[in-house]
Symmetry: C2
Subunit: 338 residues, 2 copies
Amino acid sequence: MKRITIKDIASHLHLSTSTVSRALVDDKNIRRETRDRILAAADELGYRPNPVAKNLKYGRTNTIGMIVPELVTPFAAEVSKGVKSVFYPLGMKVLLADSEEDSAKELENLRMMERFMVDGIIISICDYKRNMNEFGDLMRKGMPIVFYDRIPQGLEASRVVVDDYTKSFFLTERLIRDGRRRIVFLKGPDCIYNSHERCRGYREAMHKFGLSTDGLILDGGIRYSDGLAAAGQIHAAAPDADAVFAFTDIVGIAAMNRLRELGHRIPEDIAVASFSGTVLSEMVYPMLTTVEAPLRHMGRKAAHLLLRLIDNPSAAPSVITVDADIVMRASTETRPTT
Amino acid sequence: MKRITIKDIASHLHLSTSTVSRALVDDKNIRRETRDRILAAADELGYRPNPVAKNLKYGRTNTIGMIVPELVTPFAAEVSKGVKSVFYPLGMKVLLADSEEDSAKELENLRMMERFMVDGIIISICDYKRNMNEFGDLMRKGMPIVFYDRIPQGLEASRVVVDDYTKSFFLTERLIRDGRRRIVFLKGPDCIYNSHERCRGYREAMHKFGLSTDGLILDGGIRYSDGLAAAGQIHAAAPDADAVFAFTDIVGIAAMNRLRELGHRIPEDIAVASFSGTVLSEMVYPMLTTVEAPLRHMGRKAAHLLLRLIDNPSAAPSVITVDADIVMRASTETRPTT
DNA sequence: AGCGTTCCCGCACACGTTCCCGGAAAAAAA
DNA sequence: TTTTTTTCCGGGAACGTGTGCGGGAACGCT
């Protein structure tokens, strides 16, 4: 099964490869008639351009790398759909790599993308302090990079984010207005910057209403098992809690399941809310109240930012803050007024 | 930021590019001393081989395509880890494409992989009847293809599968031995071959114990919402059901959540089991009994099959049936003997 | 007729790498 | 010493594509 090339078309029509090439790229220096002849022959012979040769010629790979911190949640998958919706129509490939919440693996992925000579990278990071030098070096070497959601700190770079602080503030406020007073915040890992921002939003909202947060900020971790453990802590350390606000949906779901196992009714005894945007929130019972980030939209935005960066590598980094909806669901339904 | 090539190394050391190339591929026709000099220079100048040029030379892309029917479940993500664990060490890329349970999109993905000239394809399909001609054509054109899990029918091709029939039979038997009698089977879509196999296993197990299946085989669909609807049907059409065996975990989870909402206790009133292998089964309350396919292992096996096919395109198709564990969890716990 | 302009097409090279081939020098065998 | 073999390196083609340059032919204008 021999693949046919412009050379084959050329010899078939007794023309030079240059002419054939010109016909295919729709160059103006070609007679309309011969152009049509070539196009017809190309179609007849079943010509398919060889992207590898093109890439070598143009010094690009037409490939972009996307590095995500995890794939058990459909979060990244959803963002990637947005990214692909931009790059696929341009004939570009998207390479998806999973860091599995491990900075070392993240670095490996980064090196891999470099070896593969991707034209740019879209990344959500594991740890906002680690691999910073490597990101910086790579960017200085001219690699276009766009961060999204879980971003680094103190690095001049393009990024697409949700306003963690504000959204967290409003959701907390909403819980309070619904009558919750003893709201536990399950903080994410310290190594994720969003943890602090979301926690800040929670704290300030509580403060605004004169509510204490003493003993209510617990380490919720990032994995499902962390959420289970955290629920145990709530049960033990804050038995009078009437709401839980989790760093992320997976932790919120774990906490919810475990709390119920421990005899708490949800939402009657304890409301549960989290920060996310994946369909998981609608796939649990009761359905989970969350801050819904517009995942595909974020992907599209990141892709456009990256495209601009590829076209003009020296462009100033820009920051896009996307809006997120606060979606109230059954897990935080107001308890009947007593 | 100029990328340095073997040409640069050559002129830097006053050697020819051939010699440099020889040093880098560790050819024997080179003096040990010059080889070391070249390697040192390459390291010093920061030489990184250009994979695109190599690929053009060798007529390969060092890329394989993986097409999966969905990504909301971590099923495919897990299999892909197995696939990547084989290809990454070989310096090959893995391109992940999502068909979103849509045969048309699946075809697009297939065409895309062809355009990208991937060296091979690993795929789990949406519909076992559609796109059959396209798969056949592509294979005849010489594209190595390996199917896994959701496979086509009547197509001579390499594949990695779980023994749906047997595992389904044993799980059903297990439920019966645990005292369940009125077991509902939530059948998957007809367009997925596994649906029929799993249903057959269920039916024969029921038959073996002289249990009727009349009115117990319901259309469970494939999406979460389908599972919700199916649970409503159970509630209405088979109110005396004491167990549910779902085609897949997402459907099982949906059914479980909805049944509980309708007042059924799980597992006391109704046991719930499903067929899967993702961590989702452990992320719900109560944890779900499932047939656990060895996902990463399947990925690795599929990758090896594909590698063999790439090395020898005319190799006879081979079928690998991997074993799966039946994992009993809280969702089917035996009810206290009355 | 002479000149300039426009229109097309082929030649040659480039992208970065590998590899066959030939040849010079060195080593081994005679 | 001469012949044969081995060792080692450079030249150049090739993978498939794009493009600057030059030149021939046709055309238009004076």
